[in-house]
């Protein structure tokens, strides 16, 4: 379709965003330059385009000037794309005829010291947006039904809360928990801060509610091994591990007395024993025993069989050696991930002696000592001699705020310690308690008061971070080596017990069977740090609790309810609109080679008869990554809203002026584009040579785009995307890098210096990496520009 027949009337709206853009980019000058662009019939500037006033003025302008394409030059599309799409739609124009130019996160914020160049770059970014806008087609958003059911992965307090909230709202919930009982860390604590409530007492009723709720199917001792599908229509495979004990079990406990195998009890931090047939803890839900198949003799009546024998003797017969792992498939509409964090492994700090010195404990082990259902029935005694300690020392920031382990602060450790010290002082005020810290973080409601109470009860707080703990070989007492900062003096006080206040480790990389972006510290990444704290980049999947970042119970519960509401929002509507960004095969040109089939990780493409019938794309399954289109040998796959021509026009617009100085950077929406935005949010400065072209996935980048950029004289080309295991579209980046050899061979043939093409994996949490890449590639482009000038001069 040529432009004349479309009768393009493009409107460009430039936002000053207060001073955020206007302080660096000359908005008025930019507007004047934009007026000269072909097909642009209307240009306006706004102070705050996203505000009600701003949006109203855009709407008015669209109507009055009969605009049929809209370009807003403002912040990142990751922030306000939806906002402005709606504005466009409400003005009567199809929202997919709208395009954004990012002149804030990727321009004004990162070129603060080069206003003139930033303005020129902003203009070129507007030109690129207009170039794409010219070729945009209206799209209809298909609708899909949302199943009114949710999968909650993780049965800690966050998972429990989310499940109850959703179930109470009338939705069906499947709660899957890996360990034999729900309750997580909260179930094994003694008291909670700042109220000093008994932990299991407040959690227990919720755990029972979960078990008894008609809308909740509790799957404990189970793992989610596969998740497929898309928002509203997920299927999951759950591995139900064999318990070898039926649910007729009355928890009479006869079996444990005859079982010959003893194993360290996990919930007691290995401070006590359990048998191979066991109940995790007295208040476990489901309150069912199970056989630990790893340590049992092998559920083999010839080898042992004692538990089954005694159970039959009692007339119960609820031990079943023929139980087997089974796989169940479920269908749900939404998913909430609440798998929590891992407690830091203190054995990584050998100089503190945990694991070697019996009287050095972690805060979690200490909680178990205090707990009435713990290894010592609530008596505070030293593991070495079972006597009450006369003095206890606490060390803060163990494994946190440390470049050698985790650099972040783990949020709960300060209050965890303060609570523990108060527990000691409440029962035994004569015990000497000292806390060694760098800072005390008592930021929450009631926290500062608790800290004060601790000081008033005589808990001593000494500012100093111990370097090591040594043990007296006879008394097994511990000596802490530390400088008392307030006295500028080295002290080595002796304690009968030392407690290490451990922090949180990020969750296991394989915690869920779908790739979800992670932040720089390894925790699952929320969609927006301020405005979307429980959403993920994948629609329909939410996160809550410790899996998102270390936090205490109240914050976990808050996030859990938030995630439940976000999931309920989708399910309440019954159906949602699907982004019409999907692939379409031109059947008339398709040679049915099957390449696209191999590129699609969603199984969205089918060929009835290979070599005969053309490939067909299932719109609902297609996520729009574009990997198939990039590798199609016939170039006959069209990616809606990210067509080849649209992308090529952006490349051409970017390189119209002084191409040899430019760096064309392809960035994927979910990771590297987010990383670029983060660099902007963090005000990391870099040269103005870069022109970012956004695609859904790095897999979309056809080598032809790169060739076109070099043919037009680009100084450098960068291809960026998600890290290898984290591709938002599962495998797009893998295929992207497979094209590298082809591209480099073409470059060699065409005498293009290999330095001028670079591939880098940048996650949404890696702003610094993006900045460094831009600085590096800008140098390459500048060097190339110098060479071009030298040639021209000679």
């Amino acid at each position: 379709m040529n432009n004349e027949s479309k009768n393009l009337r493009i409107g460009v709206f430039i936002c000053g965003c207060g001073r955020n853009i206007a302080a660096t980019v000359d908005i008025e000058k930019l507007a004047k330059m934009a007026e000269k662009i072909d097909d642009v019939v209307f240009v306006d500037t706004n102070k705050y385009s996203c505000s009600d006033v701003g949006q109203a003025s855009i709407r008015k302008a669209i109507r009055e000037n009969k605009l049929n394409r809209v370009v807003v030059a403002s912040c990142s599309p990751k922030l306000h794309l939806e906002t402005f799409k709606e504005t466009t739609a409400s003005a009567g124009v199809n929202p997919y005829l709208f395009e954004m130019a990012n002149i804030r996160e990727q321009c004004s914020w990162v070129h603060q010291h080069e206003p003139a160049k930033a303005t020129q770059k902003a203009f070129e970014l507007v030109e690129m947006a207009v170039a794409k806008a010219r070729l945009l087609e209206p799209q209809i958003e298909p609708r899909v039904k949302i199943r009114p059911s949710a999968l909650v992965i993780g049965g800690g307090v966050a998972g429990i809360q989310a499940s109850l909230d959703l179930a109470d709202s009338g939705y069906k919930v499947y709660l899957v928990e890996k360990s034999p009982s729900i309750g997580g860390i909260m179930a094994v604590l003694d008291k909670t801060f700042p109220t000093m409530d008994c932990s299991i007492c407040i959690l227990g009723p919720k755990m029972s509610d979960v078990q008894n709720h008609p809308n909740i199917t509790l799957m404990a001792y189970s793992e989610v091994i596969e998740i497929k599908g898309y928002v509203g229509n997920f299927t999951a495979k759950i591995l139900r591990k064999a318990r070898y004990v039926t649910d007729e079990c009355s928890a009479c406990d006869e079996c444990t007395s005859v079982c010959p195998i003893a194993v360290p009890r996990e919930v007691d931090g290995h401070l006590s024993w359990r048998k191979a047939i066991y109940m995790p803890f007295p208040q476990a839900v489901p309150s069912q025993y199970l056989i630990d198949i790893e340590h049992c003799h092998g559920v083999n009546p010839i080898k042992c069989g004692k538990c089954r024998e005694v159970c039959r003797e009692k007339g119960a017969d609820c031990i079943n050696y023929d139980d087997r792992d089974r796989i169940e498939e479920i269908e749900i509409g939404t998913i909430i991930i609440a798998t929590g964090f891992k407690p830091f492994d203190a054995s990584l700090i050998p100089e503190y002696g945990w694991g070697r010195y019996p009287n050095v404990l972690t805060t979690l082990e200490f909680e178990r000592l205090f707990n009435a259902s713990g290894p010592t029935e609530g008596n505070l005694v030293r593991p070495s001699d079972m006597r009450q300690p006369k003095s206890v020392g606490f060390i803060q920031c163990v494994g946190s705020r440390d470049v050698r382990f985790n650099t972040y602060c783990s949020n709960f450790c300060c209050l965890e310690t303060i609570k523990s010290t108060l527990l000691i002082k409440e029962h035994w005020p004569e015990i000497d308690v000292t806390v060694f810290y760098i800072d005390i973080r008592a930021f929450g409601k009631g926290f500062e008061q608790l800290y004060k109470r601790a000081r008033e009860e005589g808990v001593r707080f000494i500012r100093g971070r111990p370097s090591e703990i040594q043990e007296d070989p006879d008394s097994r007492n511990l000596r802490i080596f530390v400088e008392d900062q307030n006295e500028n003096r080295f002290i080595s006080p002796e304690f009968e017990m030392v407690v290490l206040s451990i922090g949180a480790d990020p969750p296991d990389p394989k915690v869920v069977p779908i790739p979800l972006p992670r932040g720089p510290n390894g925790f699952l990444l929320e969609a927006h740090p301020k405005l979307k704290p429980v959403d993920t980049a994948s629609r329909g999947i939410f996160i809550a609790g410790g899996v998102e970042s270390p936090k205490d119970i109240k914050e976990s519960v808050t996030q859990a309810s938030a995630a439940a509401v976000r999931a309920a929002q989708l399910m309440a509507q019954g159906e949602v609109k699907i982004e019409p960004i999907f692939a379409e095969v031109d059947g008339s040109r398709c040679i049915s080679c099957g390449t696209c089939l191999n590129r699609c990780p969603y199984g969205a493409i089918t060929i009835e008869e290979k070599g005969v019938t053309p490939a067909v794309v299932n719109k609902a399954l297609c996520e729009g990554c574009g990997t198939c289109a990039a590798d199609c040998p016939e170039d006959c796959i069209i990616m809606r809203h990210f067509t080849d021509e649209q992308i090529l026009e952006q490349v051409r617009a970017a390189l119209r002026n002084k191409p040899e100085q430019k760096v064309i950077c392809f960035a994927c929406t979910f990771c590297s584009y987010g990383g670029a935005d983060l660099a902007g949010v963090s005000r990391m400065q870099y040269p103005t040579n870069g022109r970012v072209i956004r695609t859904m996935c790095s897999g979309r980048v056809d080598p032809d785009f790169v060739y076109e950029a070099f043919k037009l004289g680009a100084g450098a080309v960068a291809l960026t995307g998600c890290h290898p295991q984290d591709c938002h579209f599962i495998s797009g980046n893998r295929f992207a890098i497979k094209r590298e050899r082809r591209i480099r061979r073409w470059m060699e043939k065409n005498n293009i210096d290999q330095k001028r093409f670079h591939i880098e994996w940048i996650s949404a949490g890696e702003g610094k990496k993006f900045q460094n890449m831009m600085i590096k590639m800008s140098r390459v482009a500048q060097e190339h520009a110098r060479n071009v000038k030298k040639k021209a001069d000679s």
Partner: protein
């Protein structure tokens, strides 16, 4: 013969062993060939030491270290060193000269001598040879008469630190030397101040502080009933052996000091007469097997 492969190394002895503790050199020349090591002597100079020379001038320190490395490079031999200080110096120098600009700067100084540093050879320490190249299993097999002795193992500072460059063992709680000791039958209890620096670095300016550190170490070893200290750092051994000798105190209170190679040699069957146990300042305990 026990050695399966002949490994040729340029042996970097260092000042402390050659001048002050020649009995360590004796032990090494006796024991290392049994482990398959072929020793080559080259005209090395002082490494130079990583405490006083490095404090005066970094470039000089680097240049002298580079010269030593080129001597081994010329003969296309890797360097094996028994001195932790020399090990730290040579490895840190290698790491630093991976930067092209620094390498060029140092080579411009070496040019006067006709030498050029290329970074082609490897530097390993005795403990790495024993633990990584030969392995605990083989050492256990070689040790046909394991020694019954309760020892306080002292690793010292320069073998493991700075850990981001040396990468030999945990810098704050190294355990590989303990494992090597256990492999030849020794009892290696944990003891207070096990990882305390011997103090020889600060001894350059303050002998009092050095003495206090020596006393702490001895006290810790005594607390667990150790019969002797075992180490592989010649500086630490010199400090403890001679240092205790100089400090006041009766014979009963002093803690003897062994070099690991001496005990290893005895364990693999070498006659005690072939070592120079009399050269130790503090009388050594009787060995039982």
């Amino acid at each position: 013969m026990m050695n399966e492969k002949i490994k040729r190394y340029a042996l970097f002895w260092g000042c402390t062993i050659q001048f002050r503790l020649p009995w360590i050199e004796l032990s090494a020349r006796r024991v290392l060939p049994e482990l398959g090591v072929d020793i080559v002597d080259l005209p090395f100079s002082c490494c130079p030491d990583p405490v006083s020379t490095k404090a005066i001038d970094h470039k000089t320190w680097l240049a002298l270290a580079a010269r030593n490395l080129t001597i081994a490079e010329e003969e296309d031999l890797n360097i094996l060193t028994l001195c932790s200080g020399c090990f730290e110096t040579l490895r840190m120098a290698q790491e630093e000269m991976r930067d092209k600009k620094i390498k060029e700067e140092i080579n411009s100084i070496l040019k006067e001598t006709g030498r050029e540093y290329n970074g082609k050879i490897e530097v390993i320490h005795l403990e790495q040879l024993l633990y990584e190249r030969i392995g605990l299993k083989k050492i256990e097999d070689y040790a046909t008469r394991p020694i019954k002795l309760r020892v306080a193992v002292h690793v010292g500072c320069h073998f493991t630190r700075p850990s981001n460059i040396l990468k030999t063992d945990d810098p704050l709680y190294p355990e590989k030397l303990d494992e090597l000791c256990r492999a030849i039958g020794l009892e290696t209890p944990d003891y207070p101040d096990k990882n305390l620096c011997c103090g020889v670095g600060v001894g350059l300016v303050d002998r009092d502080i050095m003495s206090k550190l020596i006393i702490r170490k001895i006290k810790g070893a005594k607390m667990v009933g150790a019969d002797a200290i075992v180490s592989h750092c010649p500086s630490c051994i010199l400090n403890y052996d001679t240092g205790q000798y100089i400090l006041a105190g009766s014979e009963m209170e002093r803690m003897p000091v062994f070099h690991y190679l001496e005990l290893l040699g005895l364990a693999i069957g070498i006659d005690p007469d072939e070592f120079a146990f009399d050269e130790h300042k503090i009388k050594l305990p009787d060995i039982t097997f």
